[in-house]
């Protein structure tokens, strides 16, 4: 599903990804780990088509992530580590997502409800005015409602309390079939039951790739 071939990305003199090659297939849940600056976020952003590589390419279902970014992104859900300070209200954010990604609004409300987030009570509130946990719950609800084949989470539970984490993992369990789940995490123990593959990165390279 995701094929990364000899990917190199430099920022000035710093090599963030150094000739990385890997493949992620359907029904794989991957924990992507490594120290800060190992290249995890750069790899994820390359998969999302944000970076122009210095060498190599990323293909998703055979499509180039930069040249065919719209088609590629139809199949990807993404939750960043820190929710961005989006000034749109929840209502407007849902409108943006429903129109652009054809996500059913009811489905976002359903998953938000499952995450114990009452959207209707905050419908006209700006997204950035919600608490950290509420923002994260909203983004998780959107990611699940999008029904993508590829779900990418960059430290998704950083702002969640233990109960919300349990809700999140329960929902993920129900939605993981026939998908690629990619977690960037520093806490393997939290996602150990969910993942069947562990990748360690360091200095822009994959140094270990173990399948369970």
């Amino acid at each position: 599903m995701i094929k990364v071939s000899q990917l190199t990305k430099k920022f000035g003199a710093h090599v963030s990804l150094d000739n990385v090659s890997c493949e992620f297939k359907k029904n794989e849940s991957i924990a992507l780990m490594g120290a800060n600056g190992a290249g995890k976020t750069t790899l994820i952003r390359s998969i999302l088509g944000y970076y122009h590589p210095d060498n190599g390419e990323v293909l998703i279902n055979g499509l180039d992530t930069i040249k065919e970014r719209v088609k590629v992104l139809e199949n990807i859900s993404f939750v960043p580590q820190l929710p961005p300070p989006i000034k749109l209200s929840l209502d407007e954010l849902m409108q943006y997502i429903s129109v652009s990604a054809k996500v059913q609004r009811d489905l976002i409300l359903y998953y938000a409800n499952e995450m114990k987030l009452d959207i209707n009570a905050n419908l006209h509130k700006s997204f950035f005015k919600l608490s950290g946990g509420m923002k994260q719950k909203m983004l998780i609800a959107i990611s699940l409602a999008k029904k993508s084949d590829i779900i990418i989470y960059d430290e998704p539970t950083a702002n969640l309390d233990p109960n919300a984490r349990d809700d999140f993992y329960r929902l993920l369990k129900q939605n993981e079939e026939e998908k690629v789940l990619l977690f960037v995490t520093h806490r393997l123990e939290e996602v150990k039951d969910l993942v069947n593959r562990q990748i360690y990165m360091d200095l822009g390279k994959i140094i270990s790739d173990e399948k369970a």
């Binding site: 952003r45 999302l48 088509g49 944000y50 970076y51 122009h52 970014r69 719209v70 088609k71 992104l73 139809e74 990807i76 859900s77 993404f78 960043p80 820190l82 929710p83 961005p84 300070p85 989006i86 000034k87 749109l88 407007e92 409108q95 943006y96 997502i97 129109v99 652009s100 990604a101 983004l139």
Partner: protein
């Protein structure tokens, strides 16, 4: 197209809620109100009186403050979204870069143009109620000039926003461009002429490529071209070119300039890393 309108609509809604928009609208609306309170329509200076004088004063102040307002409020639109990771999230949905960029431009154009236009409409309506004669030719000329000037600076702002990584640098560049163009309206041009350091044709050329100078000269071109009112460069330009050709040029050129910079900005936006 659906996504383009969506981006424009959401950007417009977001801008209208912002504090800068309130200040922006109050400044232009307030100017008109202030002119009426100060009795500008009753005064007569250098042959201008009534609503014509009010609109002329409004446009002369607008030359100075509209470009900087547009630059500082728009220059951070893409660089700011990139800075605080909004772009990273919003572009993880299947929206093309073309739709995102041009949708933002359309939304922002409506936001910056409507308050300045609305202020002029208020002036005309109030003048009509008071029984003043409505100078329609001036009204339509200024509407066109404001449209054109807004396009030019919006294009420049989006161009800066497309390649600058941090909002602070974007603001710095915006201020520099504003001061630079403002200086070349007449202050620097007159001193250059007086010192005779460069030839006359070059001075006229510099004046003609500056959208702010074109705007200024076109704004006063409907009145009697007197040297004392217009300044030497404006006087020379209007003396060497027919008024209708010059008005057409002063509307078309900034539009083309704005479009050129907006296209250049889009090209950079497409080719650069998005986050």
């Amino acid at each position: 197209m659906k996504n383009l309108y969506l981006i424009a609509y959401l950007d417009l809604k977001e801008s209208i809620r912002a504090k800068w928009f309130l200040v922006y609208s109050l400044v232009f609306g307030g100017l008109i109100a202030l002119f009426f309170i100060a009795g500008v329509t009753e005064s007569q200076v250098m042959g201008f009186s009534g609503l014509s004088r009010l609109l002329l004063m409004y446009i002369q102040i607008t030359i100075v403050i509209l470009p900087i307002f547009i630059l500082i409020t728009t220059v951070r639109s893409i660089s700011g979204d990139r800075d605080n990771h909004i772009l990273e999230y919003m572009l993880s949905f299947p929206i093309s870069l073309k739709q995102y960029y041009w949708g933002k431009i359309i939304g922002r154009f409506i936001t910056v143009y409507l308050p300045v236009l609305f202020a002029m409409v208020i002036a005309v309506v109030y003048g009509f109620i008071k029984g003043d004669a409505i100078p329609w030719s001036i009204f339509f000329l200024y509407t066109g000039l404001l449209f054109s000037l807004s396009s030019a600076f919006l294009g420049i702002a989006f161009f800066i926003s497309s390649f600058v990584k941090s909002s602070e640098v974007a603001l710095g560049i915006a201020f520099f461009i504003w001061i630079f163009l403002l200086a070349f309206i007449d202050i620097a041009l007159i001193s250059l002429m007086l010192q005779q350091r460069i030839n006359q044709e070059l001075i006229i050329f510099i004046a003609m490529i500056n959208p702010m100078e074109l705007f200024r000269v076109a704004a006063i071109s409907l009145f009697d071209p007197e040297l004392t009112v217009m300044g030497p460069v404006a006087f020379y330009i209007l003396d060497s070119m027919s008024q209708s050709v010059f008005v057409l040029l002063s509307i078309v050129y900034p539009l083309v300039l704005g479009l050129f910079f907006a296209l250049l900005g889009f090209s950079i936006f497409q080719k650069k890393d998005l986050v």
